[in-house]
């Protein structure tokens, strides 16, 4: 069962890394606006022409 040392040993630093990234991103304001990103991604100006629909 000592393989658990490797698994936890890898998972915890990675999870901790994710936590650090989360805090970093939150402090930089990534999650301040939790509404307009959903609209913004729809409005990509298509420089060459109209969107094609199926």
């Amino acid at each position: 069962m000592s393989a658990i040392y490797i698994l936890i040993g890898c998972s915890i630093p990675i999870a901790f890394g994710f936590l650090v990234v989360f805090l970093f991103a939150a402090r930089k304001g990534q999650f301040d606006d939790d509404y307009t990103p959903s609209l913004r991604m729809l409005m990509e100006d298509d420089v060459t022409g109209k969107d094609e629909t199926v």
Partner: protein, 722 residues
Amino acid sequence: MSTNIERFDYDNRIVKQFAIATALWGAVGMLAGLIVALQLVYPVFNFNLPYTTFGRLRPLHTNAVIFAFVGNGIFMGVYYSLQRLLKARMWSDKLSAIHFWGWQLIIVAAALTLVFGFTTGKEYAELEWPIDILITLVWVVFGVNMFMTIIRRRERHLYVAIWFYIATWVTVAMLHIVNSIELPVSFLKSYSWYAGVQDALVQWWYGHNAVAFFLTTPYLGMMYYFIPKAANRPVYSYRLSIIHFWALIFIYIWAGPHHLLYSALPDWAQSLGTVFSVMLIAPSWGGMINGLLTLRGAWDRVREDVVLKFMVVAVTAYGMATFEGPMLSLKNVNAISHFTDWTIAHVHVGALGWNGFLTFGVLYWLIPRMWRTPIYSRRAANLHFWIGTLGILLYAIPMYWAGWMQSSMWKQFTPEGQLQYQFIETVNAMLPFYAIRAVGGLLFLAGALIMIWNLMKTAAAGNFLANEPAEAPALARNVQMEGKEHWHRVIERRPVQMLILSLVLVGIGGLIEMIPTFMVKTNIPTIEAVKPYTALELQGRDIYIREGCYTCHSQMIRPFRSETERYGEYSKAGEFVYDHPFQWGSKRTGPDLAREGTDKLRRMDSWHYNHMADPTSMSPGSIMPAYPWLFSNKIDVESTIPKLEAMVTLGVPYTADYVTNGEAELKKQARTIYETLKVDESKLLTGDEGLREDHEIIALIAYLQRLGRDITQTETASTQTP
């Protein structure tokens, strides 16, 4: 604030390349799936060739659909959406090309090595060590390209899909590296560094997280881009997407042990897996809810638009699979489902419904867009949708039925307290369901082929836009285009973050160095009577792995009365300490073999000889393929000492004398088996070369006759103890 509008192009060529690869490998992988499905009903489809047995084609199917079909699908979706969400072209066209061609090279290498029997014997990680290295290199190339594009972005805010792509990249890198730690013996042969229970745990930590971070997170990222785009509606709740993303990636890692319930894995680890698997319903359904409710107010468009139809079924299938999965992780449910076709049904609801249909939806949306022309035939696309949906139903429903029936039959006792059914009777009961499932798979494949035709016609009628013009203001920080300086500036302003990140990285490195020293003393309880395999048995085990026997036969007896009655003493952790890799298996298409060599179940050497030559000769009604090449191939005697030495490196206690005399020991045991067989020579189904002691079948017999003996014998009688 800069008002400098920059003009640039999105790279559509790389998306086109990945899209074509996705569609073509999808057809190949599904065809492989159809063949293996047919092989279970009509064993003639094994074609009596080593390259095409179920044991070798099943890994070809799984690798093709996961890494070639879904893999290329991921890259297609990521390369398209990443550029547009970040308002930046991929950082390096060269790296994009290396990634694409590198990945296809991996697939071709996989296809060739798997049919030739070069396999590690670990599910979804079968590829041998040179290909593992190649995968790592290509994955790094992908990561560098992706992260540099993120750094050079013109849209500061990272849309939720990007988070999913980042988590995918990081976690897949970790999973692949950790599970692929293996000691090479020769150019295309290696042994897992882990053994037995350890190997099982690492394997399914990897295996379940392959589902999580290869089949789920990148596709959720794609869902968050392509559904809003296709429906022209914003994501239902962006806030929910943030919450469920973080919850998902934290919880998923711990779910792996649910593949090992009631096995020899320690109980506390099993319970951990169960608890986290059940918790996983919440973040998974967060994704499903978000995907489906995005279509609020647009359901009338789903009726008209085949792209949305595919995507709705995909998300629904995702919801079904992520409810079923946690249910299957409950020990009482798992006691019924494990080793049965219920697991197969569950896999394919997710694979065909979620991964398959979302891929199709994205292809139908992307191809017309990139070729600036409507889809060639909406009717054919709709036909694909209905055929595919019917295919999923005809796949899953028979498999549910078969799984329940199989499990019930295995567990059934007569009123007198005997097992009601012989194993072969349960196999026969499955055949009608296997047949219907093959029809389901055929329909799914047919739909995919219709799609390929339709998309080819669409592309032919259109005008491919290789570089799509775009414009966006530069980010204030992005004015200098010096890559290195920019990266440093970002980090330099945040010394605290830099410190923490450095510590994390160093910590990982330190752990990797320190842990092996801890691992020297294992805390799996050692069983005195358990000894390493003999040289001949080791060769036989490698043949067992090569032929993929574990794809149909398990080696893990669970502590249920129905199993101990049928197979003998349930499997203990300490029995597997020398198994590099473990071979517990995931499925019982054939009976469990963990105690095949014990007095309770043991058969004569001649039975095994004839059974491998023609299974139906010893087991009428068997669907197992024949293995005639074992009766002409010679045992690779020269590899014996290198293999023993590798095992010693991995901690198996062969004495130095035994290793030096490895070849002699092998030949001595082979002769003993040969002498036993010679007595019954007239009854043997020998090949063209007749009975010989240097044929591979002798080694395989030695291995099979050793299985499970050590703890059930009072003396370890006929086997040599090294």
